[in-house]
């Protein structure tokens, strides 16, 4: 895979002009906007049918494995769909009434890219408010993004690393951070 610089240099082949920092950022901003507006079905349609969504626990090595250690979330696509179904259900008591959220993202780095796949990192701070409490979830996401027909971008893998030490302050993760 080719290391891609953050400046847009449309010189070495088609894929570097596709996987620019600006293109990736636009996609991630769109993802965050869908989540902020609780447009969960549209958000789900951003994923490939074999996608994986994971949130490791906070005390981990750089490359934790959900086969060997406890995570908070390790969803294959079927479970991710079920999570969305649950979050839309008024019987999802921990998110009913729904919390208000905003996801600030930035520090976007295209770590590597080839014709069809890019690895992208972003930093995030997600604010969640419910009643008189506000929870803050800082961290970074690592994405594997795939290029599909018609220049569509889909998420094949999203791993959200929380920059926290345990969840003593927040108590739960009931939203997609």
């Amino acid at each position: 895979m080719t290391e891609v610089s953050n400046t847009t240099m449309a010189s070495a082949g088609d894929f570097t002009s596709f996987w620019t920092k600006d293109n990736c950022e636009a996609f991630l901003v769109h993802e965050a906007d869908l989540l902020d507006r609780w447009q969960l079905r549209e958000w789900l349609s951003l994923f490939t049918p074999d996608a994986v969504y994971e949130v490791p626990i906070t005390d981990v090595d750089a490359q934790p494995s959900s086969s060997d250690e406890l995570f908070y979330i390790s969803d294959n696509y079927a479970r991710l769909c079920a999570r969305v179904v649950r979050m839309e259900d008024p019987q999802c008591h921990s998110e009913w009434p729904r919390s208000s959220t905003v996801r600030m993202i930035g520090n976007i780095i295209v770590q590597s890219a080839d014709e069809t796949l890019a690895r992208v990192k972003s930093s995030f701070v997600t604010y969640r408010s419910s009643g008189e409490r506000m929870d803050v979830f800082p961290g970074h996401h690592l994405y594997e993004l795939h290029k599909r027909d018609g220049d569509a971008i889909k998420i094949a893998r999203k791993t959200s690393f929380l920059a926290l030490q345990g969840l003593r302050l927040q108590g739960k993760i009931t939203i997609i951070v």
Partner: protein
């Protein structure tokens, strides 16, 4: 509401145990009162055996971990000879936390403040003290790490007690031992804590999580979204009521519920979400367990789920996975919760992943169920703001039955009776 009369705790102000009349009520003051919490710290947390950790977390000599238990930061370690030890994590010099890492391997401990050092069997080992201290400084052991008064284990589950005169752990556990044996017998090589833990919190009184952890009555209501998911993944329209549903008093305030259940069970109930490739694995597990322990015991191990609360604050559930959960009050209205997953020693990556996925679907701060349990407890804690006027919880379900089912409340009454007994006991 009077806490005491003539210096004694008035149980009847907090627990109305009128079982023969079909009534059992608990005062909501018990969940909001600071005086009650202070008395619980003294008469329950400083008197009962509290879970510390599992042998598998310290697999070699010189390993250590640090953990807060019963509100006190401790070091749990193995010395150079491999012996298990528990110390208060407080430097004998000026009281700083001696070891600040969560875990590791070390021949000794050194305080970063003034450099005081100790062997990992607790003995004072600071060099160059002769010039500034008396010649026999520390010879009487007064500079050594302070040991937690009692440390004992059962089947690799280690417990501490701050009361030096407490009865032995095995006596304390009573019939809990048989339930722990069923867990350990799931695997030919025993069980181990899987790397990682869930450290979280709930804005509710700690006793509510004790109740919730073996409350079956709430399952279909609170967790309807989980059951909808289960029905879809099982391909069924409804979930049948559980068979063989019971609740057992295990002695000393401990209790367990037990029944068959519809969800996947690593040892050993296959469900479609495990995949067809796993069917052969499950057959092999069933065969191995049956050959090793016999048909009747295997039936209980393979087919029946159990939720057990060991008084006061240890949950050992053997259902969707194997979970260890402890919780401790920070204040009357908040608690910190810690949980770990156990797995079979020697199970391969595929089986471990399957077990962990099953666990995470339901359990933990990101699961489909635990967050709703936490929300229910937090909702109750808010409701208790009205305790002065709406003051009593009803825990009467099934109180007249000879054989209570798991969705009755016999297990909670067992817990509260022990709570009342201990709270009433005046200091010796």
């Amino acid at each position: 509401m009077s806490l005491r009369k003539n210096g004694e705790f008035l149980t009847s102000n907090f627990v109305r145990d009128q079982a023969s009349e079909g009534l059992f009520k608990v005062s909501r003051e018990a969940f909001v009162s600071k005086s009650i919490l202070d008395l619980e710290r003294e008469r329950i947390f400083d008197r009962c055996w509290l879970y510390l950790g599992h042998s598998s977390e310290l697999p070699d000599p010189n390993r250590f971990l640090t953990r807060e238990v019963g509100g006190r930061p401790l070091i749990f370690n193995r010395d150079r000879a491999g012996e298990f030890r528990a110390y208060f994590n407080t430097c004998p010099h000026r009281g700083a936390l001696l070891e600040r890492r969560p875990c590791g391997k070390s021949m000794g401990f050194k305080c970063f403040y003034h450099g005081w050092s100790f062997r990992n069997d607790g003995v004072f080992a600071t060099k160059d003290v002769k010039k500034s201290y008396p010649a026999n400084f520390g010879a009487d052991g007064s500079n050594d790490l302070v040991r937690v008064p009692r440390l004992e284990q059962y089947q690799g589950f280690w417990f501490i007690n701050f009361d030096a005169g407490a009865i032995g752990l095995e006596d304390y556990l009573a019939d809990v031992r048989g339930i722990i044996d069923l867990i350990v017998d799931q695997s030919p090589s025993g069980v181990e804590v899987i790397k990682g833990s869930h450290e979280y919190s709930i804005d509710a009184n700690w006793k509510l999580l004790a109740e919730n952890s073996y409350d079956s009555y709430h399952a279909l209501e609170t967790h309807s979204t989980y059951f909808n998911y289960l029905k879809t993944s099982l391909g069924v329209d409804r979930i049948s009521p559980p068979k063989q549903s019971s609740a057992f008093d295990l002695g000393n305030g401990h209790a367990t519920i037990e029944s068959e259940a519809p969800w996947g069970r690593p040892v050993a109930r296959w469900v479609p979400s495990f995949g067809d490739a796993a069917i052969a694995d499950f057959q092999a597990i069933e065969q191995e367990v049956t050959e090793r322990v016999g048909v009747d015991r295997a039936e209980r191990i393979l087919r029946r789920d159990r939720n057990m609360v060991i008084f006061p604050n240890l949950v050992l559930n053997d259902n969707i996975g194997l979970i260890i959960r402890t919780f401790y009050p920070c204040s009357p209205g908040s608690m910190r919760v810690d949980s770990w997953a156990l797995g079979a020693v020697g199970e391969g990556s595929v089986a471990r992943k399957r077990r962990l996925d099953n666990f995470l679907e339901f359990l933990g701060p990101g699961g489909f169920a635990t967050p709703d349990d936490a929300t229910a407890l937090e909702s109750a804690q808010r409701g208790y703001q009205n305790a002065k006027f709406a003051g009593w919880n009803d825990i009467s379900r099934g109180v007249l039955k000879a054989h209570p089912a798991k969705d009755d409340e016999h297990q909670m009454r067992t817990w509260w009776r022990q709570w009342a007994r201990l709270m009433e006991r005046s200091d010796d």
